[in-house]
């Protein structure tokens, strides 16, 4: 093949959705992928024969229904499984569980505090309201507030006006929502420390933030985008895991005339007249293309991999300044059976939402402080997905997977390297924490695998192992993502676009950044033609 309309570096979920959208608009598309499979971080591996789990990525994520419809993924065989529940286990033997049914959920909360049970509907209302606002922004390119035109000025004025005209109470609530810590915000609803810790933990995973840090609350509603009937929100995840989603998307790309080449590592960008004009592969082969898209993180796209000439000075600095922090270690346990959890019946429906172990908010704060100090936390926060409960196809008969995201694991240590001894110590800490709640847990283990942030950087190419390809803090979200002035997926290099999760909306929705990048390309092509 000598020339395509668009070449995409990387067959991660965002590379695939970008390709699918561009292909659907009639462009000839080629994805070049370094590895032998699609999915990138979403790709599954085999922790043991017959077991399937993603070694790098999270085992769940929000897939916007708009994309499922647009790509007709159901016809490609995508089945979504609804996972309800989620249980936080505490050291004193107590637990808080999620239930989708409002009455059951309130009864569960009432075990901890009657007042909290009464506060629940107010919390649900507020979460749903914010989640809807965030959901509406997912599939839109963010406008650059620095861009000045008459219409931009008018819009700025009308926005400012609408803020100034808000009811003072409403503005106060909004300010609290965007600025408070998880701890302070949840205290406005719930008195039970266990309930607060239970609700806060999922909003921390992957983010370099402690529960007492301001702006933490803004990420609570992310889990509420899927749906709820008044109880806790549920999650929809693809049958067969994120790999199945990637496979379906690859099917769409191919059905739309796109190609995927494996074992094809891009070593440089081909430039012509200071514009991107294709890619150069490791074996020297050149692929010409009208547009080049990168599904790599923004630092790799601009600073590490390619020999750019003429990258504007300020832009290179802004990219270098994007905060990328590894904070999650991924651990998969292949289990020969489901261990018994203390105090939780094995048929409790809330189990399929997984387990959360991390103690109270104070313990989480301590783990965060350890992370800041670059030392292995004595008790990390563990989010344990058990995908096999609703999807037995992921393990042999009777087997299960504990897909653990261990939060607050530093990329580097202040006093040396992540030696084998320290890796083993971390694994033992995690196993001990689980065993505390599930006696005999270790006897169930068939195989185990650990990926530290530094391993994730080496294997998946995420700078510093940042699971979101750029921290999801408010100064790096929305119009500030990936860097101020470039929130529209374009770059200062003509015809070169970043379509990875380094762009908006990052980890909030799987595949959305890629689809948005494609949309922005199609928009500018249309502009050029007319």
């Amino acid at each position: 093949m000598d020339r395509v309309d668009a070449v995409i570096i990387g067959a991660g979920l965002n590379g695939l959705t970008a390709a699918a959208r561009l292909g659907g608009a009639g462009l000839s598309v080629l994805i070049v992928e370094r590895s032998a499979q699609v999915g990138g971080g979403a790709a599954h591996g085999q922790p043991a024969p017959g077991y399937s789990a993603p070694p790098i990525g999270f085992s769940h994520g929000y897939v916007p229904p708009e994309l499922i419809r647009e790509f007709d993924l159901a016809r490609e065989g995508l089945q979504l499984i609804r996972r309800e529940g989620g249980i936080s286990l505490f050291d004193d033997g107590s637990h808080v569980a999620n239930y989708a049914n409002e009455n059951v959920m309130r009864r569960e909360l009432a075990r901890h505090s009657r007042r909290d049970a009464d506060a629940w509907p107010r919390f649900v209302r507020d979460m749903k309201r914010q989640a809807e606002l965030i959901r509406q922004s997912l599939l839109k390119a963010q406008e650059d507030p620095g861009e000045w035109s008459l219409s931009a000025l008018k819009q700025m004025m009308s926005r400012t006006k609408s803020v100034l005209q808000m009811e003072p109470e409403a503005l106060y609530d909004l300010t609290r929502f965007w600025s408070l810590s998880l701890d302070d915000f949840l205290e406005g609803y719930f008195e039970s420390p266990a309930v607060r810790a239970h609700l806060a933990a999922p909003a921390l995973i992957g983010r370099a933030l402690g529960p007492a840090d301001p702006t933490g609350a803004a990420f609570l509603p992310a889990q509420w985008m899927t749906g709820t009937t008044g109880g806790a929100p549920w999650r929809m995840s693809p049958k067969g895991g994120t790999q199945a989603l990637a496979d379906c998307l690859a099917g769409v790309v191919q059905a739309r005339g796109g190609d995927i080449r494996f074992h094809a590592e891009v070593t440089d960008i081909k430039m012509m007249d200071k514009k991107a004009a294709g890619v150069i592969l490791a074996d020297g082969e050149e692929i010409d293309a009208g547009i080049v898209l990168s599904d790599l993180d923004i630092k790799r796209s601009f600073l590490s991999l390619f020999q750019w000439s003429g990258l504007p000075d300020g832009f290179a600095r802004d990219v270098a300044n994007v905060r990328m922090d590894g904070i999650v270690a991924r651990i998969n346990f292949a289990l020969k059976g489901l261990p018994e959890i203390n105090g939780v019946a094995s048929d409790n429906p809330a189990l399929s939402g997984g387990l959360m172990i991390g103690g109270g908010l104070h313990a989480m704060e301590r783990a965060y402080e350890d992370w800041l100090d670059e030392r292995p936390p004595s008790a990390p926060l563990l989010e344990i997905a058990i995908p096999t409960l609703e999807d037995p196809s992921l393990a042999p008969e009777g087997g299960h997977i504990f897909a653990v995201s261990a939060q607050y694991i530093p990329t580097e240590l202040h006093d040396g390297v992540w030696s084998d001894v320290r890796r083993k110590a971390l694994m033992q800490t995690v196993k001990d924490m689980i065993s505390h709640h599930a006696h005999g847990f270790e006897d169930h283990i068939v195989a185990e695998e650990l990926r530290l942030p530094s391993d994730i950087e080496d294997q998946a190419g995420y700078t510093r192992g940042d699971p979101f390809l750029g921290q999801m803090s408010l100064d790096q979200m929305f119009f500030n993502r990936p860097v101020p002035g470039f929130s529209g997926y374009e770059s200062p290099i003509k015809n070169f676009y970043v379509c990875s999760a380094s762009g908006h909306p990052a980890g909030l929705a799987l595949g959305a950044a890629g689809a948005n990048a494609a949309q922005s390309i199609l928009g500018s092509l249309k502009g050029r033609r007319s």
Binding site: D144, Y172, P484
Partner: protein, 525 residues
């Protein structure tokens, strides 16, 4: 007016700087005012006292930054003895090897001090200061007067004004500003500078007195907010005679205008009758009556303890009881028999505001330790040598040093009884890294741990600001939504302390603006 008069036009609770400023403005407008305070002397946290005979120091707050010249003029403070020992202090980031950095000035020689640590930081500083200057301009009109009451009709005009002012900054600075607002100061500084020392010093400036570390989101904005306050006050410095001289001048001015100040008069109740202010009751039962009461006591205590929750609407009680006050600090004052020797110090350095914060990690670790109830191994601090500008504070050739140590836990592991000495030793040792002969020169000292500061000034565990300066407690939400115009929700009751807009520091603005609000409301009715 007789000394035992019990009826006034207005009562001010608290003879700290804001209470005195409020009393001054009210008296100036012809009101018959009494100021009541439980202490034996005026000044609140701005007092000068002896450490030992002939050595005087500002006991708690030791710098004035953000006190507007307008208040000085309005209340004729210079006539009442206020003179500035200095109001142009340089901030100095101390370096162990003597390569100190001079900040907060645009002198060429100062900027050059940055290059000793990182070649590009001198240029970066110019850009940084320029940018911060623009943000200061944007915020200033919001901080030096009462907040506008935005009605639906006024919103369009206000929105147009704000949008135009944002546009005036230009696209690059506007983008940077919108990114700065939710940032941590660590992110802001990492984006701007290379050198560890400048980042350490600026992150200490941004977080000093707050319950926050360099990585806490929102601290970048705190830095800009502080710079705006400094700009309103036209510099940083201290009066001849220490911060106590400022409050003494304020007291003298208020009295000169006819106000009465009654000390050792603790108010235990604000009396409400039929939904209106009637007066206040002292601990000994004495009742003072007035249709207007201004309280410089923190809003939470004022509303919930002095007035009582039953006199407020439910949402107001919820909002007020939610006010967060955190940020423990310790104060150490030393009497010295000579000037300690800091390497490469000239006049400007000795007379400056000295910051010990070698890098952001050290600042962050001190915050982490405080959260855990521990004492950090490497304390960070702000210190001044007031006698350098004001020799009368100490005998000839002798000096006083005033040290604020942030991030010191209120309840320290092991208790203050056993931890006080090791704590002081650690602070002195740390300063000795920069001035090795310090301990030889110490004649006497005074240590105020957070519990002691709490006892004496009420801010040991609650921060200096009667409410954290966080987004949910700033501007129209300070001290609480619906109270940003100083009216506390009970007819005739006003809040005038640092817990109200524009908040923190020795600025006097809350006192001035609340007095104006009280006078304006009277005119309307």
């Amino acid at each position: 007016m007789s000394d035992d008069a019990l009826q006034y036009d207005a009562i001010v609770i608290g003879a700290g700087h804001n209470g005195l400023v409020a009393a001054g403005y009210l008296a100036k407008a012809g009101k018959n005012v009494v100021v009541l305070d439980s202490a034996e002397a005026v000044g609140g946290a701005a007092q000068t006292a002896e450490i030992s005979p002939d050595y005087q120091v500002s006991t708690a707050a030791h710098l004035v930054s953000g006190f507007p010249r307008q208040i000085e003029k309005d209340l004729k403070l210079s006539k009442h003895g206020l003179a500035w020992a200095t109001n142009d202090m340089a901030t100095v980031a101390l370096d162990r090897d003597g390569k100190h950095i001079m900040l907060s000035s645009s002198r060429k020689s100062d900027i050059a001090t940055l290059t000793a640590h990182a070649a590009q930081d001198a240029d970066a500083w110019k850009a940084f200061e320029g940018r911060v200057g623009k943000y200061v301009k944007l915020l200033k009109p919001l901080l030096d007067k009462r907040l506008p009451d935005v009605s639906a009709e006024a919103a369009t005009k206000a929105a147009a004004m704000l949008a135009l002012r944002l546009e005036k900054m230009g696209p690059a600075d506007l983008r940077a500003f919108l990114q700065l607002v939710p940032s941590s100061v660590a992110s802001l500084l990492d984006r701007s500078f290379e050198g560890d020392l400048i980042k350490g010093a600026l992150s200490l400036e941004a977080t000093l007195g707050a319950h926050a570390g360099p990585h806490t989101p929102g601290t970048a904005f705190s830095y800009v907010y502080k710079k705006t306050q400094e700009a309103i006050g036209q510099g940083m410095g201290y009066p001849v005679g220490g911060t106590g001289a400022l409050t003494e001048a304020l007291a003298s001015a208020a009295e000169g205008l006819g106000a009465r100040i009654r000390l050792e008069s603790p108010v235990i109740e604000i009396i409400i009758e039929e939904g209106r202010i009637k007066g206040v009751r002292l601990a000994d039962g004495t009742v003072f009556e007035a249709p207007i009461v201004l309280s410089s006591v923190d809003p939470k205590t004022t509303c919930l303890d002095l007035v009582g929750a039953r006199h407020f609407e439910t949402p107001a009680v919820t909002h007020v009881s939610r006010i967060k006050m955190k940020g423990a600090t310790a104060k150490i004052n030393l009497a010295l028999e000579g000037l300690p020797t800091f390497a490469n110090f000239s006049d400007r350095e000795y007379g400056g505001r000295l910051l010990i914060a070698p890098d952001m990690g050290t600042v962050e670790r001190s915050f982490t330790a405080a959260k855990r109830g521990e004492l950090t191994l490497d304390p960070v601090m702000e210190l001044v040598i007031p006698s350098y500008h004001d020799p009368r504070l100490a005998p000839m050739g002798h000096h006083v040093m005033s040290i604020i140590v942030p991030n010191v836990p209120f309840d320290v592991d092991g208790g203050w009884d056993t931890q006080k000495d090791p704590f002081v030793k650690r602070v002195i040792d740390t300063i000795s890294d920069y001035a090795p002969d310090l301990s030889d020169k110490i004649i006497a000292g005074e240590v105020l741990t957070p519990p002691e500061l709490e006892d004496r000034f009420g801010w040991g565990n609650r921060g200096w600001h009667q409410g954290n300066m966080s987004f949910d407690q700033l501007l129209s939400f300070r001290p609480a939504p619906g109270m940003a115009h100083y009216e506390a929700g009970v007819s005739g009751l006003y809040l005038c302390g640092v817990g109200t807009h524009p908040g923190g520091g020795l600025t006097g603005l809350p006192g001035k603006l609340s007095a104006e609000a009280a006078l304006a409301a009277e005119k309307v009715s």
